[in-house]
């Protein structure tokens, strides 16, 4: 085979216990194991992480930005989901 082009991987890093993994960028690797190691060398050179996830970029299924109106805007009108929607009389605390 003459496939010298490695697949692209998206890299997610947990910077410390208690925080979720966050997308930091991408890299090339032949397999998942190598992707984790490359991510360690590329994205944690300054102790930025304690845990790494890698996902092949092809496997990421994303929502369509042109549908953003219909996907996300309907939530904007549901203000009653937010605590600030409600009146609480002065003097009431812990609520």
């Amino acid at each position: 085979m003459s496939n010298a082009n490695w697949p692209l991987w998206e890299v997610f890093i947990r910077s410390k216990q208690g925080l979720s993994h966050k997308h930091v960028g991408s890299l090339r690797a032949a397999d998942a194991q190598m992707a984790v190691e490359n991510a360690r060398d590329v994205y944690t050179r300054r102790s930025e992480g304690i845990s790494i996830w890698v996902v092949q970029s092809n496997d990421v299924f994303a929502s369509d930005p042109s549908e953003a109106d219909s996907l996300y805007e309907p939530a904007d009108s549901k203000v009653y989901r937010h605590p600030t929607f409600y009146d609480v009389p002065d003097g009431i605390s812990h609520m």
Partner: protein, 318 residues
């Protein structure tokens, strides 16, 4: 949803940019915006990668253990920065390998500064101080660029590069305060790198064909001449402080404007180097091409092994 024609999309796009809303990879964008970004980001990535070579030239000859470790870490950072940038370009659909092939064929450009040779240890100081100094000046405004992945990559790059310029200035300071040979070495490096560093900001605004549109799209936030002036204003006092002389007979401070006035840049030299006729253009591109060619069998082997292993796992599960 209303029927969107191109003009309407372009209007909405520009409105987003004017309102400082970042553009993300899957958003609609004009082809010219995408092409300009791909060109700019990959050129930037190539500069990081080719930029490893002049400094890499001194890693095995660094004068002590501390300097060796710092230089290694710095050159490695450049590889990392190249990678962040190629990643950003990939979000626009620019395949990294194809982008790199354009570098090797001479189609894609990189910063002209890296086509100058590093002839002494002091050049490590001059590069860190002047070249990284100029690069930071270019890059800081790009942290606010309109394209999300590029802006995020630049935030990371700028954070990491803060030590690069310092280590260079530290080398220069040490040499300038050292023996007469060391001071001469430092002055010689400044003499050779000063003008090429000023050229790094690109042609004068009047000559710069992309500036206007790029500013409108917020993928460039200050003009070449503005940045160059900023660089000169900051750097000249630093040279004076360590007792080195800027090699420009026309350099003088204008008390009215509060800026330094400097001599004419040799634009013929600049364009020659951009066209490929600098002292090291051929060596730099050859070195990169060789690395890619010599690595081909390695990348093939890893891909073949990954496939074999995946198949074996499949068989095991079956």
């Amino acid at each position: 949803m209303k029927e969107n024609n191109i003009e309407e999309l372009e209007r909405q796009f520009q409105e987003k940019i004017d309102n400082d809303i970042k553009i993300e990879p899957r958003d609609w964008m004009p082809d010219a915006y995408r092409d300009t970004l791909i060109r700019q980001i990959s050129q930037h990535a190539h500069s990081e990668i080719v930029g490893m070579l002049p400094e890499g030239n001194w890693i095995t000859r660094a004068p002590n253990l501390r300097r060796k470790a710092v230089l290694l870490a710095k050159v490695q950072d450049e590889a990392g920065h190249g990678l962040y940038l190629y990643s950003a370009a990939e979000t626009l659909g620019a395949d990294r390998e194809e982008t790199i092939d354009d570098l090797h064929s001479g189609k894609a450009k990189y910063s002209s500064i890296f086509n100058y040779p590093t002839l002494s240890w002091a050049d490590m100081g001059a590069i860190g101080w002047l070249v990284d100094g100029a690069a930071i000046m270019n890059q800081v405004p790009l942290c606010r660029c309109s394209y999300g992945p590029y802006a995020r990559a630049m935030v990371r790059v700028c954070k990491e590069e803060s030590f690069h310029q310092r280590q260079g200035f530290e080398i220069m300071t040490t040499l300038a305060n050292g023996t007469p040979e060391q001071k001469a070495m430092a002055q010689d490096a400044l003499n050779r790198f000063w003008w090429p560093a000023l050229m790094m900001f690109g042609p004068n605004d009047a000559e710069s064909k992309h500036t206007e549109q790029s500013m409108r799209w917020k993928i460039k936030r200050q003009t070449n001449d503005e940045l160059r002036q900023q660089f000169v204003d900051i750097t000249v006092p630093q040279a004076e402080m360590i007792g080195l002389t800027i090699p420009d007979a026309d350099l003088k401070f204008n008390t009215e404007t509060g800026h330094y006035e400097f001599g004419e840049i040799n634009w013929d030299e600049f364009w020659q180097v951009v066209k490929g006729n600098g002292p090291c253009n051929k060596d730099r591109v050859d070195a990169r091409r060789k690395a890619k060619e010599n690595g081909m069998w390695v990348r093939e082997a890893a891909a073949a092994y990954a496939e074999k292993r995946a198949n074996r796992n499949k068989e095991k599960r079956a």
